[in-house]
Amino acid sequence: MIEFSKPVIGYAEVWPMLLVFGVACAGVLVEAFAPRRVRYATQVLLALVGLAAAFVGTVMIGLDLNETAGGAAKGGITAEGAIVVDGPAIFLWGLILLIAVGGLLLFAERELEGGVSAFAGQAAALPGTEAEREASTRGLDHTEVFPLMMFAVGGMMLFPASNDLLTMFVALEVLSLPLYLLSGLARRRRLLSQEAALKYFLLGAFSSGFFIYGIALVYGYAGTMEFGGINEAISNNTGNRTLLLAGMGLISVGLLFKVGAAPFQAWTPDVYQGAPTAVTGFMAAATKVAAFGALMRLYYVAFGNERWSWQPMLWVIAILTMLVGALLAIAQSDIKRMLAYSSVAHTGFLLTGVLGAQSASELSSGEITSLQAVLFYLVTYGFMTLGAFAIVSMVRDAGGETNHLSRWAGLGKESPIVAGIFAFFLLSMAGIPLTAGFTGKWAVFAVAMSAGAWPVVVVAVLTSALAAFFYVRVIVLMYFADPVGAGPSVTLPSVLTAVTIALGVAATLLLGIVPGPVLDLAAHAGEFIR
């Protein structure tokens, strides 16, 4: 009989995450009990303080991490082996929290819609009915978006920090479910928003079906769900390899779906387009960060000894993803769909970094590691994506946001600063030097090249050229084309959106010119704990 002992959670290490969850729960309570007029302010303040505190906590924990594994890694496993708080996890936490702050500011923006937020006044009210009109005249807001977002952030923090398959699954669902809802809450173009939510939900659920079945198979192979244990089982080579491979494949499907890799990318354009722009920005940036963190932990830790079999698979996926993303983006005429495909292409580049994993013995001193490169890329990607979508939310006409590209013509004349910033983000996404996009690209290409994946790098380079085309097209439209009709107009946002954009610009510029500190931080984070 196993003697019962109180589980050790290690609050000292995981409290920032718990705090976020706590804030989310508190948000639900606020929603239930606070009077309507103070709800918005309370929710925003609560979430902001919660995220800030969590961020401070993350930094403090990060400074305190003990070195393990001979100095190669830092931190430790806690919560009965379910959660691991190591360097990369802390790094990702910090990043997710920063992006969440930016996302929160976008969520809280009320200037653009003339005093109300971008979310449906009353989601349950049917579009075009009296109820909806009433909700909008009364200036109703769904302040539930804030707790929903906090739950998602909590899930995102748990995702890359989970140390076993089950925790990972739970984290996946915790981060996904609120996002499904958030996607459907747009104030304008309700039909599209709801459709996006439905598609996202059905496909998400479908993919998590694969994910959990994969978990079952891997569990069947290894007899344990813990990553370390799985790795050990692989090195001992016990059990039925078909189970392992099939399980690995199915788990990959779930993760690759989340990061939006081809051929699992189908949901991205539809959801990115339909969801409220603030949600799209947050989701595009933060989900990718969390999912790549989890992906790498799974591949590097659980399947680390099986590298030679998943690397070729990732080659195929990465190449496919880059091609699909770059090619289809060319054909888009909606800015959000174009950014969605661009994000698919970025997934491809990130995968290029992931597949560049090499064991420590293969690396020479001072050489950039795959983990370091991908973490760095995530930083650059996160900020520029958030910033870009923030800009998208500002370009509007009478019917709300004008996402059709033709309506962006002549923006450079109308509002040189906004156009300039957007052009800067686009150039960064295209990977032009002196922007963060370039340094990120360089890093992932370099690790892939070091690992001998030169064909992937060549494809990556070619698709970058292809991708440049559609980014440049937007710049041409903004600067060198004459406006059609009344032309686009830029609604001046409140300081909230402005701060987010400023954050994005600053990060993109600094990481382009002096990426050293962040790269060092990523290097300092060390390896994953096995």
């Binding site: 989601a123 049917l126 089950l166 669902e173 039909l191 459709e195 598609k199 079945y213 769900m225 354009p269």
Partner: protein, 99 residues
């Protein structure tokens, strides 16, 4: 005891779920098929737990059930709004977002 029949069964259930998602138009049915896939996983988990002689799989099955329940909450909410707006639960009707 051989685990094979259970695993085969679970695989068959999973496949049925899959095919169901692909073929059915009604969002509720599609969603039920996803649930079927989750339950196929549960069966596999429990089977492997028995075979491996530890409890992790069984615990996992519980978690999956909880998660599935949560999914239902969210899913039904979304499907309901769509249905109320469109007067249709057919997933094929929701196809404005394309190309």
């Amino acid at each position: 005891m051989s685990t094979e029949p259970y695993i085969v069964l679970s695989a068959i259930l999973f496949t049925i779920g899959c095919v169901g998602v692909l073929t059915r138009r009604n969002a509720i049915v599609v969603f039920m098929c996803v649930e079927l896939m989750l339950n196929a996983s549960n069966l596999a988990l429990v089977t492997f737990a028995k075979a491996n002689g530890n409890l992790e799989g069984q615990v996992g099955a519980f978690f999956v059930m909880v998660v599935a329940a949560a999914e239902v909450v969210v899913g039904l909410a979304i499907i309901m709004t769509i249905f109320r707006t469109r007067r249709s639960a057919s997933v094929d009707d929701a196809s404005l977002l394309k190309y």
